[in-house]
Symmetry: C2
Subunit: 414 residues, 2 copies
Amino acid sequence: MSQFLAQAHEAREASIALAGASRATKDRALAAMADALIANQAPILAANGLDVQLARTAGVTEALIDRLSLDAARLAAMADGLRDLAALSDPVGEVIRGWNLPNGVHIDQVRVPIGVIGIIYEARPNVTADAAGICLKSGNAVLLRGSSSAFNANQAIVAALREGLAACGIDPRAIALVAGGREVTDEMMKARGLVDLLIPRGGASLIDAVVRTSQVPVIETGTGNCHLFVDASADQSMAIDIIINAKTQRPSVCNALETLLIHRSIAETFLPRVTGALRQAGVTLHGDAAVGALDPTIALHPENGWDDEWLSLDLRLALVSDVSEAISFIRQHTSGHSETIITNDLAARQRFITEVDAACVMINTSSRFVDGGQFGFGAEIGISTQKLHARGPMALPEMTTTKYVVTGDGQVRA
Amino acid sequence: MSQFLAQAHEAREASIALAGASRATKDRALAAMADALIANQAPILAANGLDVQLARTAGVTEALIDRLSLDAARLAAMADGLRDLAALSDPVGEVIRGWNLPNGVHIDQVRVPIGVIGIIYEARPNVTADAAGICLKSGNAVLLRGSSSAFNANQAIVAALREGLAACGIDPRAIALVAGGREVTDEMMKARGLVDLLIPRGGASLIDAVVRTSQVPVIETGTGNCHLFVDASADQSMAIDIIINAKTQRPSVCNALETLLIHRSIAETFLPRVTGALRQAGVTLHGDAAVGALDPTIALHPENGWDDEWLSLDLRLALVSDVSEAISFIRQHTSGHSETIITNDLAARQRFITEVDAACVMINTSSRFVDGGQFGFGAEIGISTQKLHARGPMALPEMTTTKYVVTGDGQVRA
């Protein structure tokens, strides 16, 4: 048996008792995990120092080095994140619905943990503690497949988290770091019956590869090619505030704006206003031919280039003749994350809500609000852009499944 | 573009307007579809006659001929099934939760159709109308991949259903029969972005092949290797009634009993009682070594043969030393469908509920109740044995996803 399969079997064993752990036990474990991170600050930061040194030798970019690096403050934030989870209510045991059959049989649909969750993610070592904490609170064992560039820190972090579990009587094998190369990711994707769910977190190509290959159920997260449509009836000043916020408040994230669609009937007046504001905010503009006809200083964007995220201070602009054309455009290019309309027209709002196929439809507000923390969920393991199981920001309830508990006193089917 | 891809694109087009169709329109369409089935009785039965004739020439079993065959009564039942769907409430538009953020932004989580659903199923032509009706009521377009042995009848049925749609102003391309061989199933499984969900209905090998190969999300349905554990504290007469019901009331279905586990401490008295009753009901018994030691007339069942469904009047029996061993045994062999305990012990009941990993856990009642109709759902597209999205009997709400509708009046993120 490979090392991964041994870990997966251990995690499944551990998940059985964890599924029945009380909220008090799990919350004590989260506090103990936080304490253990702080108590092990020296070995964790030393291990991280080694990762950073290896990454520098390998010549990775400073942006990546920054994402990889830990210090006392970042470690304290990780510990605080675990303590915050303890304050959230336990999704396990929630009765979603319950009813009696005419013959007296009683049925409850109850939230239960999924079992064993595999997380495949890239550089940042803080995800290790975040994901482990969310899985623990929701009663799931977790197999963490982090980036090899963060391996030493991840190993030290997981060792500390396991100390915390053991101190509270929870089987420490409920949190495991999966080591090895690409072949281990392949093993995870084939582990039907051992791993119940895979969540890839990272770039679009990682996610796409996992979705296409995995035999284990997957939840896609993250890719956000977000549009905003300014309708003819829009409050134009409001539109500009929201556009600037959605594009510039944090351009590197999945809920940032990537393409602006403008109703043709207002373009002549609105385009100069919005492009002025965008340029002042440092945004580089790329337009379709119709936009270029109104403002030749905007670079013509190629026709086959409207599907990707910029993740930078760049923005595509196009004109559309009405809400129908806006919806068609969005349906063609959306990644299903968050789509925005700025309008004062009730019929346009309703069509946009019904016909745009995305996890979140925003009306007169910024897509930057699409986030588990902003939604008030208190935790987030990612933003699902698929339609099954969970769609949009995923928090603790989305890390559970349900079970029907059917109770009788001898009833049989006639 | 292949014929399948053309149909998939048409179904996606049709799904857009269908997602916004009112309940009244959909219910009128269901009635019109039912009327059209009856009005087209002659061509449908003639097409079915051709299928049956071809099947006979190919030498298929009489059991399969029976499943394939339609007559006026069966067609009327299909029409009634569509009319019954009209009486069920519309899942689309249900607000699951709604709340305000501190800044005044309002969020609603609303049920919406999934989009385009592919159903891959075996012989029975009544599934064609059932599945089409459930998808229509839940606002989804459907691509029906029926058995080639039922192709002529399915074609005539779909033509009638489309007549019904067209009469009510719904794009008839929302219901399509997919024609062709194995290569078309492969195309369906690769149609990411065009097909949102695949539901295979049929034998374990079909389902397993689809789950392992598909790049489109799949919901597994159907396989039921169901156990029943008689605890030491059980009311033994109640246990026997439930065992006879679960095993013999309809042995060919997924919620029938396949393996009986008996607490060792009661085996000496209980085994003769239950085997007497089972034999009287025509059940053939297969036992482990411990059962064989108590009753040498029971055939010894091989150790590696405890994972499959019998789907016949056969039953495996084994002794276990306590509820822990029963749970371990079930965890090792369950297909995750329905597992039963007969007990009067509260602690045993609670452990069984928490630690058995199945869609439905039955306490002191028959697993034959695990069925959308019996649960009171009014419709069923299958019984999910997986943990994501839907688990257990799937009805109209399980054929939907959700969308967050986020409404503001200019709020931006600070």
